[in-house]
């Protein structure tokens, strides 16, 4: 065998030696500090040579993108997990007859794809208190207040607006990633408590501008507006999808004025989507009739809104969903791909025909609520 020299060390490191020679060098390097140092030096020389020679390669100017942080941010958009912040406040409203008006602001901006109606999945709303899905808790009402009558008999169904197809980048993205389920939109009957679906972190926050832009796709529904004080408004927050209603005067309960701080969340979800809104401690009185509305909405001036689910306790549910409510929870299955939205659920103690909406009530609303929306995949009943 040839004597070991520096050339053999390089050949060994370059993988050019036979197995026997390599084993010999390896043993030598392992046992002899001097050769170990020689091997280390050889590695350094090899690396240095490569680096020096690479500097000879022409490198055109402006190779790196000018806005790396921007690009990086775009690819690392924060994900919002659906882990809710659970609180367990209870209604403090003395009696529903007086003013059991609950306005829960839940949500985020409205973004949904402009899917033809015939292709939209059904909406299901169901409440199952026994499931005790972690979710929203209702904030205590400041005081009782006269209830603004709500017209429950003919729950509103939002009619698709012609100008829904405001395509945004986000909408396009959603269209690529989450094809719409196929279902028929329309009147949905209350369903027996839908099985509780495990929550999944399938929501992702999106930039507010995109969400707001897409919210313009909402469809006007005057009846929905009159039936419940629902407001949808996109606003990005970093918090989980917790929504907190706020005490607000009736005048402020008009669309766009009830947006609760921290309530909005732009989200991207995969359809169908179940939303469980927990109303902890809520026990409806026997006489309770609960017009409840879940509205996807845009608060942009001149934009339309669309009810996802409206239901009156004495009337068949309207809109594009089903829901039931029992003790403390509400499950909603959105009938479309929702990129972002805000849900506000309004519940009234009493109902009355007419166009009176909560927002029209002369008496300030006192009910406030904090809710956590739990997005999850769920089967459409």
């Amino acid at each position: 065998m040839p004597p070991v020299d520096e050339g053999m060390i390089h050949a060994w490191l370059d993988g050019a030696l036979s197995a026997d020679e390599a084993a010999r060098i390896e043993a030598l390097v392992a046992s002899d500090p001097a050769w170990s140092a020689a091997a280390a030096e050889a590695r350094g020389l090899m690396a240095a040579s490569s680096r020096i020679l690479s500097s000879l390669d022409a490198v055109p100017a402006n190779v790196l993108p000018a806005s790396i942080p921007t690009v990086r941010a775009a690819h690392e958009a924060p994900r919002v997990t659906a882990t809710p912040r659970v609180t367990t406040r209870r209604w403090r409203t003395p009696q529903w007859a007086a003013a059991a008006t609950l306005v829960m602001a839940v949500g985020a901006g409205v973004l949904w794809r402009s899917t033809p109606e015939a292709e939209r999945p059904a909406v299901a709303i169901a409440t199952d208190a026994s499931k005790s899905a972690p979710g929203a808790s209702v904030a205590p009402a400041a005081s009782t207040a006269p209830v603004a009558p709500v017209a429950p008999a003919t729950p509103s169904v939002a009619a698709p607006a012609a100008g829904r197809a405001n395509a945004t980048e986000l909408a396009k993205l959603e269209q690529r990633e989450a094809p719409a389920a196929v279902a028929t939109r329309g009147t949905a009957s209350p369903v027996a408590a839908a099985p509780s679906m495990p929550t999944e972190a399938i929501a992702r926050s999106v930039p507010e501008p995109a969400a707001k832009a897409a919210m313009a796709e909402a469809v006007a529904d005057e009846r929905a507006e009159n039936a419940v004080a629902l407001t949808a408004r996109a606003r990005r927050t970093d918090a989980p999808m917790a929504a907190r209603a706020m005490a607000a005067p009736a005048a402020a309960a008009t669309m766009g004025a009830m947006d609760a701080a921290g309530a909005s969340q732009s989200v991207r979800v995969v359809t169908p989507v179940c939303w469980t809104v927990r109303l902890s401690g809520w026990t409806p009185p026997p006489t309770f009739v609960a017009p409840i509305g879940v509205l996807l909405d845009s608060t942009r001036a001149g934009s339309a809104r669309e009810a996802v689910a409206l239901i009156g306790g004495e009337a068949p549910p309207a809109a594009k969903g089903q829901w039931t409510e029992t003790a403390d929870s509400l499950r909603v299955t959105v009938d479309r791909v929702v990129l972002g939205y805000t849900l506000r659920v309004a519940m009234a103690r009493s109902t009355m025909a007419g166009r009176a909406a909560l927002g029209d009530a002369a008496t300030p609303l006192k009910a406030t609520a904090t809710a956590t929306m739990l997005p999850s995949r769920c089967a459409v009943p």
Binding site: D5, G7, M8, I9, L45, L53, L56, N62
Partner: protein, 172 residues
């Protein structure tokens, strides 16, 4: 043979041009030498150990000093004209730093013996010891020694230039 040349071109053109660019310091010239190399491959009926053959032919072409000098002058003129027209403004500090590093690397590489330089550049392009030995007409056993020497001298020369540059900057 044309099909083989096309395959050879697709397989080795990138590495050959990089090898030649590093060797010559002139991308256009490197491209031209590479083209000439593949033209010669087209004329060759059979090529054994094709990568070694290609790099050997290219290395031999580089040795044509007269041709090199004439074309270098011409290409330098063209490059200078192009640089004046098309150069993208680069941050001055970054550009100067790169230029200084490239100049030192070029000087250090030129300080190596021809064989050491070629062996080192070929190894950087992925040629194994057998191919380097074939291309440079070396024995297999001497390739390691050649590369070890080339690497050490290149690093030492570069470090010396860095020290000189540092002293120059300090003096200024």
């Amino acid at each position: 043979m044309s099909a083989d040349v096309e395959r050879l071109f697709k397989t080795y053109h990138v590495t050959l041009v990089r090898y030649l660019t590093r060797r010559l310091g002139d991308r256009d010239w490197a491209e031209e030498v590479a083209q000439e190399t593949f033209v010669r491959a087209l004329r060759q009926e059979t090529i054994m150990n094709e990568r070694a053959w290609i790099f050997a032919v290219a290395t031999n072409l580089v040795r044509d000093e007269a041709r090199k000098d004439a074309r270098r002058r011409r290409h330098l003129e063209l490059l200078r004209a192009e640089a004046e027209q098309d150069a993208e403004p680069e941050p001055e500090g970054l550009s100067a730093e790169r230029a200084e590093e490239a100049a030192m690397a070029r000087t250090a590489l030129d300080a190596l013996a021809e064989r050491d330089r070629n062996a080192l550049l070929m190894k950087e392009e992925g040629l194994d010891y057998h191919e380097i030995a074939a291309a440079l007409d070396l024995s297999f056993g001497s390739v390691g020694t050649t590369l070890a020497r080339a690497r050490r001298r290149l690093a030492e020369a570069y470090e010396a230039l860095q020290r000189e540059g540092g002293r120059g900057h300090a003096a200024s």
